[in-house]
């Protein structure tokens, strides 16, 4: 989604800073998903399909409620259902709306080798520009949440855009608009944190003393946050990572190694050049030919 009304602050595979004069001075956006209010109706999935013109293949029943079974280039959000038996012996049905978390420090953007295929807007949204995507899948390698998917048809990477096109014109994302229980809300990130704090207080007063906000610091915070009843055990919610961060291997691969390696290659060639200028080539002259002939005559 190339939208001039949203200022780009970071662009994949770009070494110089983006234009900085304008910024999101009224605050960055965030989507808050209150897992404790979700009833698993999948209206958000339908709204996402409708607004973004996506139609996934009709799959087959895999024995659980997740439908479709996984995120794909056509399914940018997905309810993941977990049956959890709590220590009291009661069954809890934990339903987490999965999709891009819009990290402040996005691993996909860090890993992407194609300039401008992944961008981050001043308001915090991380967006893929498929026309620049080369289909290498490095975004998948970089993502700590296993979100991007490469299309089997066009080999481009796709994921949730946080409805950047809607947000650009002052609307909330489609999933937020449609949610019948108010489990998904959208607005200024600070406001969303405040709203979450009120919800957490309410949950604690009702016995969920480990309730909390999921806004992981390891990726600089996210622009999609969860209110969890068991914030001390995010893994319960279909393997939501406890402390997500960009893998150290990706950091090394896409960090210092890039300039250092280019420098070292250039330096190797330059040392060769200096050797040629300073010491010079190793040549074979008439004396060597003569010596070779003499030696052959000796042996034969």
């Amino acid at each position: 989604m190339a939208l001039q009304s949203l200022d780009i602050v970071r662009r994949s595979a770009t070494t110089l800073p983006e234009p900085q004069a304008r910024g999101a001075h009224t605050g960055q956006v965030a989507k808050l998903i209150d897992v404790t209010k979700c009833i698993g109706c999948k209206a958000c999935q339908v709204a996402c399909m409708e607004w973004n013109d996506l139609r996934d293949e009709i799959g087959t029943c895999t024995g659980h409620y997740d439908n479709p079974a996984d995120l794909s280039e056509h399914s940018w959000t997905l309810m993941r259902f977990t049956e959890y038996e709590n220590p009291k012996g009661d069954l809890e049905w934990l339903i987490r709306k999965d999709g891009c978390m819009h990290c402040a420090d996005p691993g996909c953007l860090k890993a992407c080798p194609s300039p401008g295929a992944i961008v981050q807007y001043a308001n915090g949204i991380v967006d893929f520009h498929e026309e620049n995507c080369i289909g290498c899948g490095y975004c998948i390698t970089g993502c700590p949440f296993n979100v991007p998917r490469i299309s089997k048809q066009d080999k481009k990477a796709y994921k949730c855009t946080l409805c950047s096109d809607r947000v650009a014109v002052g609307l909330e994302p489609a999933c937020v608009k449609t949610c019948p229980t108010g489990a998904i809300v959208f607005g200024d990130k600070e406001d969303m944190k405040q709203h979450a704090a009120e919800r957490i207080e309410d949950l604690k007063s009702r016995g969920f003393d480990k309730a909390g906000l999921y806004d992981p610091a390891g990726v600089g915070g996210t622009h999609v946050m969860y209110v969890l009843h068991h914030a001390d055990q995010p893994m319960l919610y279909a393997d939501l990572p406890e402390n997500p961060k960009i893998s150290a291997m990706v950091g090394l691969w896409k960090g210092v190694s890039k300039p250092l390696a280019l420098f070292a290659i250039a330096a190797t060639a330059f040392v060769g050049f200096l050797h040629y200028i300073g010491i010079g080539p190793n040549e074979t002259d008439e004396h060597d030919e003569e010596a070779a002939r003499r030696e052959l005559e000796k042996t034969s």
């Binding site: 080798p113 289909g135 490469i150 050797h275 060597d288």
Partner: protein, 213 residues
């Protein structure tokens, strides 16, 4: 094949030369396309391959060509490249090597210690590049590997490629430095004097047993 002129020794047969240049050309294409995706400042190199997606599509296939072609060279050159004590002694006198004091060095067979170590460095790099390259070949193979393995393979691929590129820079420079060497791979022959000066043991072997392959 034209007969070698007097005072010339055949060092590489036409088959070996063609084989070498298939490896060399695929290496250059791989280095250019790989560097294009390695550092943003070099992304423009993708234009040489028809754009970003084509670079991504072509790179692994060229890689397979290089590995297969090199495997043939490896079989052909393996026995000539086993390190002997005299090669280690040669390596220890690196100062004399770079200063062109060849008369002070131990006598050298078909290949010197540096060439032999280069040979094995290339083999190790290609093994690492092949294995990691398969893991990160997204279209066909990545789905069979866990994400941590893919991350490690991405890093390993970059490291091995870096070592290989530096190694080949040294290899190319050695050809420019030691005059009369490039001919061995383009025309197939070297002069008696060249063989006597740089590879005396090999020269004697060839002198005794006639022309070698």
């Amino acid at each position: 094949m034209s007969e070698p002129k007097p005072n010339e020794i055949v060092r590489y047969t036409p088959g070996t030369r063609i084989n070498h240049w298939i490896v060399a050309i695929s290496f250059v294409l791989l280095a250019l396309s790989g560097l294009a995706l390695f550092h943003p400042a070099l992304f423009w190199l993708t234009s040489l391959f028809g754009g970003g997606p084509w670079t991504r599509i072509l790179h692994p296939f060229i890689g397979v060509v290089m590995v297969c072609a090199f495997a043939l060279l490896m079989v052909k050159f393996w026995s000539h490249n086993l390190m002997h004590p005299r090669d280690w002694a040669w390596m220890r006198q690196m100062k004399d090597v770079v200063e062109n004091h060849e008369e002070k060095l131990p006598e050298v067979g078909r290949y010197n210690g540096g060439q032999k170590l280069l040979f094995f460095t290339i083999i190790l790099c290609l093994l690492a590049l092949l294995a990691s390259g398969i893991v990160i070949w997204r279209v066909y193979f990545s789905l069979y590997f866990p994400i941590e393995v893919i991350r490690f393979a991405s890093l390993l691929h970059a490291v091995a490629a870096f070592v290989l590129i530096c190694t080949i820079v040294v290899h190319i420079y050695a050809g420019i430095w030691v005059k009369g060497s490039i001919r061995a791979m383009t025309r197939g022959t070297v002069s008696y004097g060249w063989a006597w000066k740089h590879h005396r043991l090999w020269f004697r072997e060839v002198g005794k047993g006639g022309q070698q392959k």
